[in-house]
Symmetry: C2
Subunit: 335 residues, 2 copies
């Protein structure tokens, strides 16, 4: 039977939430990944060393695996150099949210005034802390990411030594930025490699495929596939797996997020195999991220084989992407 | 208190459904409108004289008002001239659905082969039967209406005496067509005067605002408002009010349709008043339609006044647009 072994797969963008939801989802990520960059948009957001340490210990407790490292992040605010020096050993990145663009982002940045951000961003640059960015404006939903490109350009050109990750990119415009600035990188989700707005709202409305940034046009998906399948050295896998309870997704006002943590590697095998690019999957799900972030990941081998996997209807209260469907790849074992 | 009297308001595009749903929604339309053009996309679709007569009598029975006329439609197929002559006194229009573009449209037209349609369209033209069209391709959801313009052009230029109504238009492209062909007309819904895709999927996902054609961009809404507020002589109000039970809207695969029948006139007052165009509302909701369709509507006067109206959470099993909210106009009485 056809198999592939992925060593030290990394999910460089995941929402593990907190409390009961954390208990549900953390073991699913820690089972099949060596590590994951954990987003800080809790309520309240993670903004202190104490909060980082405490959240990390809750994650470690919720995991069912010792061979998994949660790479911690702070929620971007203007921080002093002194504070950043004190926290640098406990975080991998600082996540910047424009205010109001997604779940629990109300405390984010409301205007990109470069001078007020300079101390923080220069200190991050000097200390090697990555700036991870949710790159959307508050404009028309299909234009938000493309409109944000000027902010990326301003950040990248003003802080040329700062590593900036364009998170969960969804547009051809963002892909084009990768080769324009040495210090711009990107994560790409598995669902944005698969769906367009047509899948969300072109037939029936599909709340479990509703996410931010919203899935875009076919030519945008093609641009994402192009760099992911080639394992472009500046792109990394980041699932943006974002669980919401079923009753809040199937309601009159459904929150944004697609839950893919337990099926991400299987889906990636399907996609890369369909394009005859399985050889590049290792770089996309691990090597690129290790190099970009300077991460030395926990050793783990995940063996997938070409065997049907029946996706459960629910994990706890959460409906996964492709619920009830059959995937063509399964995780055979984790060593 | 500020009031406005609308005489013989008409809803030139409505879905009354059948069975229990018909019992719920027909009285809501017949209360405040003199008449409505009733869509034929039942299961099975309305394609025979017997079906037209039988559906009309079910509607009359479900109504709670004698001063209301259901203007009946057939589901477009290629019909013979003989058949159309036999049915012409019982129908007002024939509704053309491209196959698969919306609820119960599977039996629609799958290719626009003008020669195969010629006998039917020429007979309709000669007999004065209006062609009412759901103008969408099967393309990318945001492009479907704009892509359909070439079909409108082909129909309008090949059958210059045939009155063609572009139903529930949503784009600047469709608005531009109005002045290009003498025989092209349009209906506009109240929700497309109010919302864009941002309202459906820009914040939380709002299934009760999900419809086909999907709401488009701000500049498209501006183009619609421009001709509606001016009561452009070729545009008419058509609510496209399309009820679905709450449990099917708030589910993992939600059907397309916004339910506005009981609040449409109140909302139109709000919109026209906000733009200081209340004087044009009579033409938009009645006069234009009477002239375009050659309809002599049942006499009815609807008096609205500027007084709060609390929109119910449900009408039967159906969640209306603006459920639970307060509108600034109420229907004071119907004479």
């Amino acid at each position: 039977m056809k198999t592939i072994t992925l060593t030290m797969p990394l999910d460089m963008h995941v929402h593990l939430r907190d409390g009961e939801m954390l208990e549900t989802v953390a073991p699913l990520t820690s089972y099949s990944f060596s590590g994951a960059l954990v987003m800080p948009n809790l309520v309240p957001p993670v903004t202190t060393l104490e909060a980082v340490k405490s959240y990390r210990s809750r994650i470690k407790k919720a995991m069912e695996s010792d061979d998994f490292e949660p790479y911690m992040t702070l929620f971007y605010q203007n921080y002093s150099r002194t504070f950043l020096e004190s926290v640098q050993d406990d975080i991998t990145a600082i996540k910047l949210y424009p205010s109001g663009v997604t779940t629990n982002s109300e405390g984010g940045v409301s205007s990109f005034d470069i001078e007020s951000m300079r101390e923080t961003l220069e200190a991050m640059s000097d200390l090697g802390i990555v700036l991870s960015v949710h790159g959307e404006t508050n404009g028309f939903v299909m234009d938000r990411e493309a409109e944000f490109m000027s902010v990326y350009e301003m950040l990248a050109s003003n802080f040329p030594k700062l590593k900036i990750v364009m998170e969960h990119i969804t547009t051809a415009e963002a892909v084009e930025m990768l080769d324009r600035y040495d210090n711009l990188y990107a994560t790409i989700t598995v669902h944005h490699l698969m769906i367009t707005l047509d899948d969300v709202a072109g037939g029936m409305l599909r709340p479990h495929l509703f996410c931010k940034p919203i899935a875009k046009r076919p030519h945008d998906r093609a641009a994402l596939l192009n760099v992911a399948l080639a394992a472009h050295p500046k792109v990394m896998f980041g699932s943006d797996s974002a669980p919401h309870p079923k009753h809040t997704k199937e309601s009159c006002g459904c929150g944004a997020g697609v839950f893919t943590a337990p099926i991400a590697l299987q889906l990636l095998c399907e996609i890369f195999e369909a394009h005859d690019k399985l050889d590049n999957l290792q770089a996309f799900v691990s090597d690129n991220a290790q190099r970009i972030y300077g991460i030395c990941a926990e050793y783990k081998e995940v063996v997938l084989e070409k065997r049907d996997f029946h996706v459960p209807e629910l994990y706890g209260s959460v409906v996964p992407m492709r619920a009830g469907e059959i995937l063509t790849w399964s995780i055979e074992r984790v060593d």
